[in-house]
Symmetry: C2
Subunit: 222 residues, 2 copies
């Protein structure tokens, strides 16, 4: 038997998605719970980033994490190691989460006593960008090994993001990745968006990212 | 004006996809043209791998490359630099290619005089695995920075692949990536599948991969 709770999700019909997302945000506002939707390509370091941010925030905020994956529970097990509440959402092959699926997750984790819930979306730079999950803010991670041209190829993801995290900056010397160029490409897709270069593994840049999230939670919950 | 030809694709209705894919394979068999569908997550090095393989094969085979992307033509421009025929396919926001879209690409590139056509699919480990493009074989790339746990999270991609390429082995010292573990995970999803560890940038392992492709093309075209 798995050591973490696993929820099998059912997809909402698409036309109801925007309404469902708005309803989720109303509910979260009433409950004073902030929901962050965290998106990236596979292997960009969503879970490692979450662990490092949780460790910065867990003494100040009640945190819950919903780990979405097509299969496996490896990420929820990793998050469980931080001591915060975590559940694994199984999407049944789906490439993204919609508002209805996210809501099933929120019901399962129980949000009343939580200040911050993070949804770790399916690793995918395309489909998750098309569905409003009901989150208060969207964050996306681009990791250095993926290359500085990704905003050119996956425009919508950078447009719907409220903040971009550039992870794995410790390996910058080993990749052809131009930090100025990537910022220019990101701002071409989304003028003025805030960008946090970090290394989730060493912790570099993580306090600044955690401060951003702490401010956002405070603004929402006041 | 762009320096490469750009084709805007229209999606086939889903139920026709399998029939269309079979028809594509029949056409390719008659024309003695081998079609490889190359899939991976964003930034795994599909284009760089293609360039290194093209340089191994272009004196022996007539090659055409179809670069699929949601937007941009950066990859087709890179491929054009090798001297082989290349076109850019724009998916109009779609997260994958189906058989009908692939067929539009084959018509546009002109396959009669080509021995090998490679379709570089949209960077995505989920949706492209669900659609038969009409390819003769499917190859997928997993790059070292993405992590050795990806076969656990994206099972279908590893099941539909006929060969797995592990790219960016030059950065193995900088990542927690266990080569034995990843092979075990891949073979759990797809027993016996052939695995080629390579570094597309330095060329390590590329001749072995090119030899595999040369053999597959020869078997198909005889």
């Amino acid at each position: 038997m798995s050591k973490v709770e696993i929820i099998d999700l059912k997809e909402n019909v698409l036309q109801e998605n925007d309404t469902a997302a708005e309803n989720t945000r109303k509910r979260l506002k009433e409950e004073k719970t902030f929901l962050l939707n965290l998106m990236s390509a596979p292997g960009s370091g969503k879970t490692t980033t979450l662990v490092s941010v949780i460790n910065e925030l867990k003494n100040d905020l009640n945190i819950g994490i919903m780990e979405a994956d097509i299969d496996s529970d490896v990420d929820a097990l990793t998050i469980a190691g931080t001591g915060v509440r975590s559940i694994q959402l199984h999407t049944g092959g789906m490439c993204h989460l919609d508002a209805g699926m996210t809501n099933q997750g929120l019901d399962a984790i129980g949000t009343e006593d939580l200040d911050l819930v993070v949804l770790e979306n399916v690793g995918n730079l395309v489909c998750p960008a098309e569905f409003d999950t009901g989150s208060v803010k969207n964050a996306m991670i681009l990791s250095v090994p993926e290359g500085d041209d990704k905003p050119l190829k996956y425009p919508l993801m950078f447009q719907v993001a409220d903040v971009v995290i550039i992870n794995k900056i410790d390996v910058l010397p080993y990749f052809d990745f131009d930090m100025d160029k990537v910022k220019e490409n990101i701002h071409m897709r989304h003028p003025g968006i805030e960008i946090f270069p970090i290394c989730a593994k060493t912790g570099e840049g993580v306090p600044e990212l955690a401060d951003w999230l702490r401010r956002e939670v405070k603004n929402w919950c006041e």
